[in-house]
Amino acid sequence: MTVGNAWQAVMQRPLRFLRSSWPWRALAYLLSGVLLGAVTIGIVLTIGLLVLPLTLVLGGVFVARVERWRLRLVDLDPLPDPHSPPARSGRLSRLRAWLGEAATWRELGYMMISMLALWWIDLLVLGFSAGIPLIVFWEGLHAQGANRWLGTAAGPILLLVAAYPATAWAGARAALTRAVLAPRDTELGRQVVELTRSRKRLADAFEVERRRIERDLHDGAQQRLVALNMTLGLARLDAPPGSPVAARLEEAHSQAKQVLAELRELIRGVHPQILTDRGLAAAIDEIAARSPVPVDVDIVLPGRLSPAAETTAYFVVSEALTNVARHSGAARARVHGRTGADQLIVEVRDDGRGGAQATDGSGLSGLTDRVAAAGGKLILSSPPGGPTLVRVELPC
């Protein structure tokens, strides 16, 4: 008999069977079966253990998004997304970021609760609120006599009454949603830290830019103006005295001197060189020396501080002393500066008439932004009648 399959093969005489290829075929067949089985189990398990949870997690995130959006129907205060944007773009990094966030697991938990309980309760409440009045109304329509009036009247009334439990349950559901899906303080905190960091980066970028401008002005325009002054001075020596040329040159020379003085002031307002070269104490000594109101300077610092601290403190003192000279009518001012516990504290006091305000557009109000960007605090105390105190605290 011809052998077409394994069973027919087994039926043969033992010697014939064992010598044929069929046992080997059977072996190959069984082995491949085992292998296929292993691979299949592996794939199914992978899908089950990896993909399913991943799908659940992703589902959780998206369901939560929809839930947050539709929450607006019953809660006018919008619910922000607790997830932070990932450091790198791309789906894979987003997924990885989500897996690491606590918010994702809260959303997954919420989705589970919704699936198992909340949606059913929603259905139940909806059913009772809408269904019962409708049934009553329907029955009423098909009933006879007194029941008819009772039914058709009771239907709408019950519908109105049902508004209360329906809304109450919607409110409770909304409150639960908000409690679970709202960003926690730490998540918000991350955004605040990001904001602060970017503000500091911006402030630093501005500072670098300012220094660049100061350097360019100093190395370029200022040098040229000094040379121009010299040239004009020399030219005046050679002009015949009393001639129109001499008069013109004198004019030109005095204008050039003025420009030079104004440029120096401008540079000082952008970033004074003495601050870069010799530090905060020397720079404050210089402002004090130039102030029309006598200033006592008492500054003790342990050497140089961070550029941000030195620059910010300098401009606070400069603005404060300008105000003293212009508005305070003070007889004397005092600048006091010390460091302690990683902080630089500088105070400017004057015995003037007080009443200083950090109104919008005033020099002091502009400084508060600068101080805040440097991570510090600016305090103004200026009761009418004086005295005035400007105090700045900066991390250094």
Binding site: Q223, N229, R278, A289
Partner: protein, 215 residues
């Protein structure tokens, strides 16, 4: 006719100063752009005057001043004129107490525009006199608690000019009075402020500055 060594890192300014120097009949035997170069040039040459900027490479803080003070230690009589971007009282003080205390000058770069005064200052310092920028004096005046009320306003003017290092003749010219009047004022100032009697002009500057620096 001086033999000047000039140290200034800004090329524009350096060229301008060389031109100015030459216009007044002086020679610039060396014009350098860094503090080490200044030391080398001044040690090898025999300058009648060294002019240097405070702020020089390589450090860009006060390298020029340090070099000048070093030279003064080696040659206490070497006339040195230091140019500064802004007033620093300690720079002036360091200079005035270096070497013999004479033949030093401390001026703001602003003064370069007044070429005649600048040329006079150069000659003054090279000749052993002392020149201090008026802004330095003004700040010293402003810092005092008592506004020198014992002095008349004319005497205060004379005091300021004395502190800048001007001679009686120069003060007389500046205030448009006679030298005799200036001498009288000077005598009165010294008495009122109880300053020690001095013989030479440069010691006078030191005495006045020392007084002004007291708080």
């Amino acid at each position: 006719m001086l033999n000047v060594i000039l140290a200034e890192d800004s090329v524009l300014l350096r060229e301008g100063l060389i031109g100015l120097m030459q216009r007044f009949g002086h020679t610039v035997s060396a014009a350098v752009g860094s503090a080490p170069e200044l030391l080398a040039a001044a040690r090898h040459g025999r300058p009648s005057l060294v002019i240097t900027d405070v702020r020089m490479p390589p450090g860009f803080t006060d390298d020029g001043l340090r070099a000048a003070l070093t030279l003064r230690e080696e040659h206490p009589d070497l006339p040195v004129l230091v140019l500064s971007q802004y007033v620093v009282q300690t720079y002036a003080a360091d200079l005035l107490s270096s070497g013999t205390g004479r033949a030093v000058g401390y001026l703001l770069k602003d003064r370069i525009g007044d070429v005649t005064d600048f040329a006079d200052a150069i000659v003054e310092v090279a000749g052993g006199g002392t020149v201090v920028d008026p802004e330095v004096i003004r700040q010293l005046f402003a810092r005092r608690r008592d506004p020198l009320q014992r002095l008349t306003s004319r005497e205060r003017d004379v005091l300021a000019l004395m502190a800048q290092g001007r001679s009686n003749a120069a003060i007389a010219r500046a205030l448009v009075v006679s030298e005799a009047a200036v001498s009288k004022h000077v005598g009165s100032i010294f008495t009122k402020l109880d300053l020690p009697t001095v013989d030479t002009d440069h010691r006078r500057v030191l005495a006045v500055l020392a007084y002004l620096r007291e708080r």
